[in-house]
């Protein structure tokens, strides 16, 4: 078991505001890790730092894809991080709203395909073949996630829960070694949450990838995650197995004492 993601002492300042303070975090291959904490603890900022949407002010982010070298990715362009093998979903759903469900997944095949502008204009034999592959692979992923019957619908017309699942399908289409899920169960009803839980486990087992998720639904976190990191005010305050974390006094205080959100 090697560390797919190895974050050491990452800090992020916005002007004078310290949103993250020396966060250390590891995700090993095949592991499901959860990052929890009250609202505003800096969880999404942390995701933005490791996916390079923000460049961390201090610290290092190392990423080791399944078939690849250990690479330092802080400060790298976000699209290159995705190409290396890290994919994410967004807390406030960011689908390509006016495009079809299938096209949303097809776009995510971008970094695994090649056809350029010359190919688009002159269509040598390889290009339609690649297009056909993109359609088939994307359709297969939709089927895997259970949205294939909606393939030609506009993404924005999907119900909320289905939009979250489409975001996961889209992330999977980039062939990641590490999947980052930002509150995947937010706004879902209990049945949908249960189905999502099974989906996450299925993805981990069948696609052999590591998963890091931010989640507020405690029952989901406790039953899914093998390890949990707890953040408050930009700092890690606890880490360990679900049992260890749920008995940690600082965690209980953070959740019940000052902010009873969960």
């Amino acid at each position: 078991m090697h560390a797919v993601l190895d974050v050491t002492a990452v800090s992020m300042n916005f002007g004078g505001l310290r949103a993250l303070s020396e966060v250390d975090l590891q995700v090993h291959s095949g592991e499901i890790v959860a990052l929890i904490g009250p609202n505003g603890a800096g969880k999404t900022t942390f995701f933005n730092c490791i996916t390079s949407i923000y460049t961390p002010t201090e610290g290092q982010v190392w990423f080791t894809p399944q078939k690849g070298e250990r690479t330092r990715i802080n400060g790298m362009k976000p699209n290159l991080v995705t190409t290396l093998g890290m994919a994410r979903t967004f807390q406030n759903i960011r689908l390509f709203k006016n495009m079809s469900v299938l096209e949303n997944v097809m776009i995510a095949r971008h970094c695994r395909t090649k056809a350029g502008i010359i190919g688009a204009l002159f269509r040598p034999a390889a290009v339609p073949r690649e297009e056909q592959e993109i359609v088939e692979q994307s359709y297969a992923l939709l089927k895997y996630i259970g949205l294939h019957t909606y393939m030609n619908e506009q993404a924005s017309s999907l119900p909320y829960g289905a939009q979250r699942r489409l975001e996961i399908a889209r992330a999977l289409a980039t062939e990641p070694s590490l999947l980052l899920l930002d509150e995947p169960a937010a706004g879902m009803n209990p049945q949908e949450t249960e189905a999502l839980k099974h989906l996450v486990l299925k993805i981990r087992d069948e696609m052999d990838m590591a998963i890091l998720l931010i989640e507020h639904d405690m029952s989901m976190v406790m039953s899914l995650a093998e390890r949990i990191y707890v953040m408050e005010y930009g700092c890690l305050i606890a880490q360990g197995t679900p049992a260890e974390v749920s008995s940690d006094t600082r965690v209980i205080k953070a959740y019940l004492g000052e902010d009873a959100h969960a």
Binding site: F14, T44, N48, I53, F90
Partner: protein, 302 residues
């Protein structure tokens, strides 16, 4: 160093700059409240000049003295342009609230073209001479060759109206509601501010100032046609950007800065590229310092 030439350029720039500032305030207030570049704002300025010209000519034929004509023409221009601004918002922008940012901008471009062609059809596409209405002040005689009475009236009127606007924004209840709406429209509405009313007032005020600028500059230059609003509008927008769009004192400073730098650039470098200079400033600022001379950068939330 030729001090007199320097002073002449400085005073010329000051005059220009006050007009840019007057128009820029309209851009910046609208942008501050509804985040729209009101592309048709330059046309409001042009309409102001035309209304002023028409009213002044009619009064002139009726035999009013120039000073009265100037005041009445300016008043008429202000009232009518306020009306145009108000109506324009109701027709072209209000139905588009919440429709993203491209649709209102395209609607604004349409409105701008509409107003230009409205003037072409209803009046003329030619240049019309604007009567010189500003009386000669005797006390300006010693400096009249570099700072005539029309320069004086422009600088004075625009300073007074900008000061009045500042007082209005700072101290009246309505002004406070405007500032609150600019900061956070939803929150202001929850607190009982009528956002529709605030937006209307913004358009009324911005258009009035533009109309005043239109009449003043037209009587200073002595010419007006349907296209003058485009260039003046772009330059005033540049001024708003220089000062940090959304900020009223910024728009005033930006206007002065643009007026002075244009004046010096044409005076000391070359007058061929006068307009290129403003456009270049605009492009350079939007690219490198979109928040203006003094502004702070915004971080986008993911």
């Amino acid at each position: 160093m030729d001090w007199q030439y320097l002073a002449e350029l400085f005073l010329g720039g000051l005059t220009r700059g006050s007009i840019y500032a007057l128009i820029a305030i309209g851009y910046t207030m609208v942008y501050g409240i509804i985040e729209l570049i009101n592309f048709a704002h330059g046309e409001i300025y042009m309409l102001g000049a035309f209304t002023g010209l028409i009213v002044a000519s009619v009064l002139g034929i009726l035999g009013f003295p120039p000073a009265q004509i100037l005041i009445l023409a300016a008043l008429a221009a202000i009232i009518y342009c306020a009306g145009y601004g108000y109506t324009m918002e109701k027709i072209a922008y209000k139905p588009l609230r919440g429709a993203g940012r491209l649709s209102p901008l395209i609607s604004a471009i349409g409105m701008s073209l509409f107003l230009q062609n409205y003037i072409i059809l209803a009046q003329t596409s030619d240049f019309l001479p604007f009567p010189s209405l500003i009386p000669e002040f005797a006390f300006l005689d010693p400096v009249a060759h570099i700072f005539g009475s029309s320069n004086f009236v422009i600088v004075l009127t625009s300073s007074v109206s900008m000061a009045a606007l500042t007082v209005f924004i700072k101290y009246t209840k309505m002004g406070k509601a405007m500032r609150a709406t600019a900061q956070n429209r939803k929150m202001a509405m929850l607190l009982g501010v009528n956002a529709d009313k605030i937006i209307s007032i913004t358009f009324l005020l911005g258009s009035s100032l533009a109309a005043l600028g239109g009449v003043l500059i037209a009587s200073h230059v002595g010419m007006v046609n349907f296209a003058v609003g485009f260039l003046a509008g772009i330059k005033a927008f540049t001024a708003a950007v220089l000062g940090g769009i959304g900020s009223i004192p910024g728009a005033m400073l930006g206007g002065l800065f643009l007026g002075l730098s244009e004046s010096f650039a044409t005076g000391y470098i070359s007058s061929d590229y006068e307009d290129v200079f403003a456009f270049t400033l605009l492009v350079v600022f939007l690219i490198f310092r979109p928040s203006g001379i003094m502004g702070k950068a915004k971080v986008e939330k993911v």
